[in-house]
């Protein structure tokens, strides 16, 4: 195996260095062409995101290729030698494959389990395919990586459970209401986190959003952003009657929502469930409202606690994911080993002989009328047909392998004759 992976991520390199590299390179295809000019490199994939820059290559000459790639990064990233040593990691063969699998499965991500990275890897692969910079080896590695990512997602809980405050709020809302289709939110005050939570809720099918603010002009402006309705701050108590979810984040020094307000609203709303999210510090909603039947109040600390627990549980799931990846790296390695000429010839022969054997069994019913010698002759005939058919491909393979170019032929042969049971 001559696979090399060189790169840097959020753990090894600070933002300013990562951005220097990804800015100059961008995510266009120029660098692919540039790398393909190195004679040491046969195939290459280039992946740049906000959190990482990675180059995956299949080399003819590993040492030479690494040197060229280092020079390439040095040149584009404008890095000092010391920075290069500190920020870059370099993996070979199985370890390079493992690293790619971990990246695609989002184990290596800043927010472990986040779904975007797989899409980014797929984009990078698409670019590489369009520019014809991948071949037998990288195609296989990448497709395998996509499969591994899917397996990790379905077999572990790595992507379960919200790891941001706003998503935690959405999950809670679902736990209370089931589906959020047709629900109504009331957003009181402004703030990045509350607006983010409102956006997530809207994405989940919330039908209507009311916006209240001390300054009505601001409410109007936000209402426009959210395609919602601005409402008067003084009529809050009334509005509580009609909404299902309240997100509050005002700068008010005291409580904006009090138990008597909620009690009155709950009676008028015929006990429909009410979910209150208090993101403000100091708090907007009197904690005593949580005691009221069918009312559920969460403040920013409660949500943060949920997030912390979920982060820990994702870390536990990551251990399971590592085991899956171990297993898959092993499988990749096995496949790679089959890319030798001799085992391929053997399995091709076995496949053919298997076919002859099973066809002879199938024909047993009419062949019983033949005598032993005739049967023998049929078997000999079938055997020599195999030999004749296989003669040219096997000779061709052997010739190619002497010139070191057999890999694509082997891979094509294995694919066309179905010699890999994957």
């Amino acid at each position: 195996m001559n696979i090399i992976l060189i790169g840097m991520n959020h753990k090894t390199a600070p933002l300013e260095i990562r951005e220097r590299l990804s800015l100059t390179c961008g995510n266009d295809a120029n660098h692919l062409a540039e790398i393909m000019k190195f004679p040491e490199i046969q195939e290459v994939l280039y992946l740049a995101t906000c959190n990482r820059v990675e180059v995956l290559a299949n080399a003819v000459d590993t040492a030479g290729a690494v040197e060229k790639l280092r020079a390439f990064i040095f040149h584009h990233g404008n890095l000092s030698a010391e920075e290069m040593a500190r920020c870059l990691y370099l993996h070979y063969d199985d370890e390079a494959v493992r690293h790619l699998f971990r990246v695609a499965s989002s184990i290596d991500s800043m927010v472990m389990g986040e779904p975007q990275i797989l899409g980014q890897v797929k984009d990078a692969y698409r670019t590489a395919v369009e520019h014809n910079t991948t071949g037998v080896i990288l195609n296989r590695v990448l497709h395998h990586a996509f499969r591994v990512a899917k397996r990790v997602r379905t077999e572990t809980g790595i992507a379960h459970n919200a790891v941001s405050v706003s998503f935690a709020a959405v999950e809670l809302a679902k736990k209370i209401f089931g589906s959020l289709e047709g629900k109504t939110i009331l957003l009181i005050g402004a703030g990045e986190m509350s607006e983010l939570a409102a956006r997530h809720l809207l994405n989940q099918g919330v039908r209507k959003i009311l916006i209240a603010n001390r300054t009505y002009a601001r409410a109007l402006q936000m209402a426009e952003n959210f395609h919602g309705t601005a409402t008067d701050f003084d009529t809050l108590a009334e509005k509580l009657r009609d909404v299902d979810i309240v997100i509050s984040s005002t700068g008010a020094p005291g409580y904006v929502i009090t138990p008597p307000m909620i009690e009155a609203a709950i009676r008028r709303r015929k006990n429909r469930l009410l979910f209150l999210i208090d993101i403000a510090v100091p708090r907007d909603i009197d904690p005593a409202v949580n005691e009221i039947d069918n009312v559920y109040l969460y403040n920013i600390d409660n949500l943060q606690d949920i997030v912390d627990t979920n982060v820990k549980s994702r870390q536990r799931e990551a251990e399971k994911a590592e085991a899956i990846i171990d297993d898959e790296v092993g499988k990749y390695h096995e496949w790679f080993n089959t890319l030798e000429v001799v085992p391929t010839i053997i399995s091709l022969r076995e496949k053919m002989e298997g076919i002859v054997k099973s066809e002879l069994v199938k024909s047993g019913s009419w062949m019983q009328n033949l005598n032993e010698e005739e049967k023998k002759n049929i078997e000999i005939l079938a055997g020599s047909i195999i030999n004749k058919i296989l003669h040219d491909p096997i000779t061709g393979l052997k010739e190619e392998s002497r010139e070191n170019g057999a890999l694509p032929y082997i891979a094509a042969l294995r694919r066309l004759f179905g010699l890999d049971d994957v």
């Binding site: 209370i176 015929k270 006990n271 039947d293 069918n294 969460y298 949920i306």
Partner: protein, 271 residues
Amino acid sequence: MDTMFLKAALAVYFVSVLGYVTSIYVRRVMVAKVSTWIFFLAFLCHTISFIFRYLETGHTPVISIYETLSFFAWAMAGVYLAFQPKTKTRVLGAFVSPVTFLLMIAASKGLEGYVSIPEVLKSNLVPLHVILSVTGEALFALASFAGAMYLIQEGLIKNKKVSGFSRMLPSLSDLDRINHFCLMWGFPLLTLGVLVGSLWARTAWGSHWQWDPKQVWTLVAWVFYALLLHQRLAIGWKGHKAAFLSLLAFAILLVSLVAINLFFVTAHSFI
């Protein structure tokens, strides 16, 4: 033949209980899905055993106490399975399947061999009375399971313990909907069942109502259910109070179903 299928049903119900319990333990939806299919298989065996029993004994097999227990289990399993695709609340199976299994164990104790039916029960009204009442009661049992799960889930949400067991439970709204639905259907069925029973009582005992302990307890439970339904439909009760009251009403109903036959002298006990 009927006992063979009954035993098969019992065994398969047991497997589904194991499946559901495992699904809670390992927290995998797949395991719960498979358990639901196993539960369905058990239900089919159970249904076949009813058909054979009907063919072999010649009476609708809901007369003896054991037959009734078996029918109760069957009705509950059937209603749960009918719901299941709509509500996607497989975890409810972890409540329903063990109860079904226990009822089946109790039922299987007395279902072997032929039961001779007293002359007085040979009326078409008797099976009708049992089928209506028991189906109503099975729906109430499901309502109470949903109510119990509601109270658990609500307690977890109120106390901010949402990272663990809470994930396994359905949302509050879904549980409330199941509770509501089961009450809406259970109540008229039980009411009709009692009415048919009293029609029969007129022919057998000479009066519609006996003030027998079993009747009285059932009446008390019925009043509670009537109250609950009224609060739900007219006052708009939802959630916590409704869940709690459905549990309380079912507890009273259980007294009438179980305790009365064991500890009281009742005219309502036959075979």
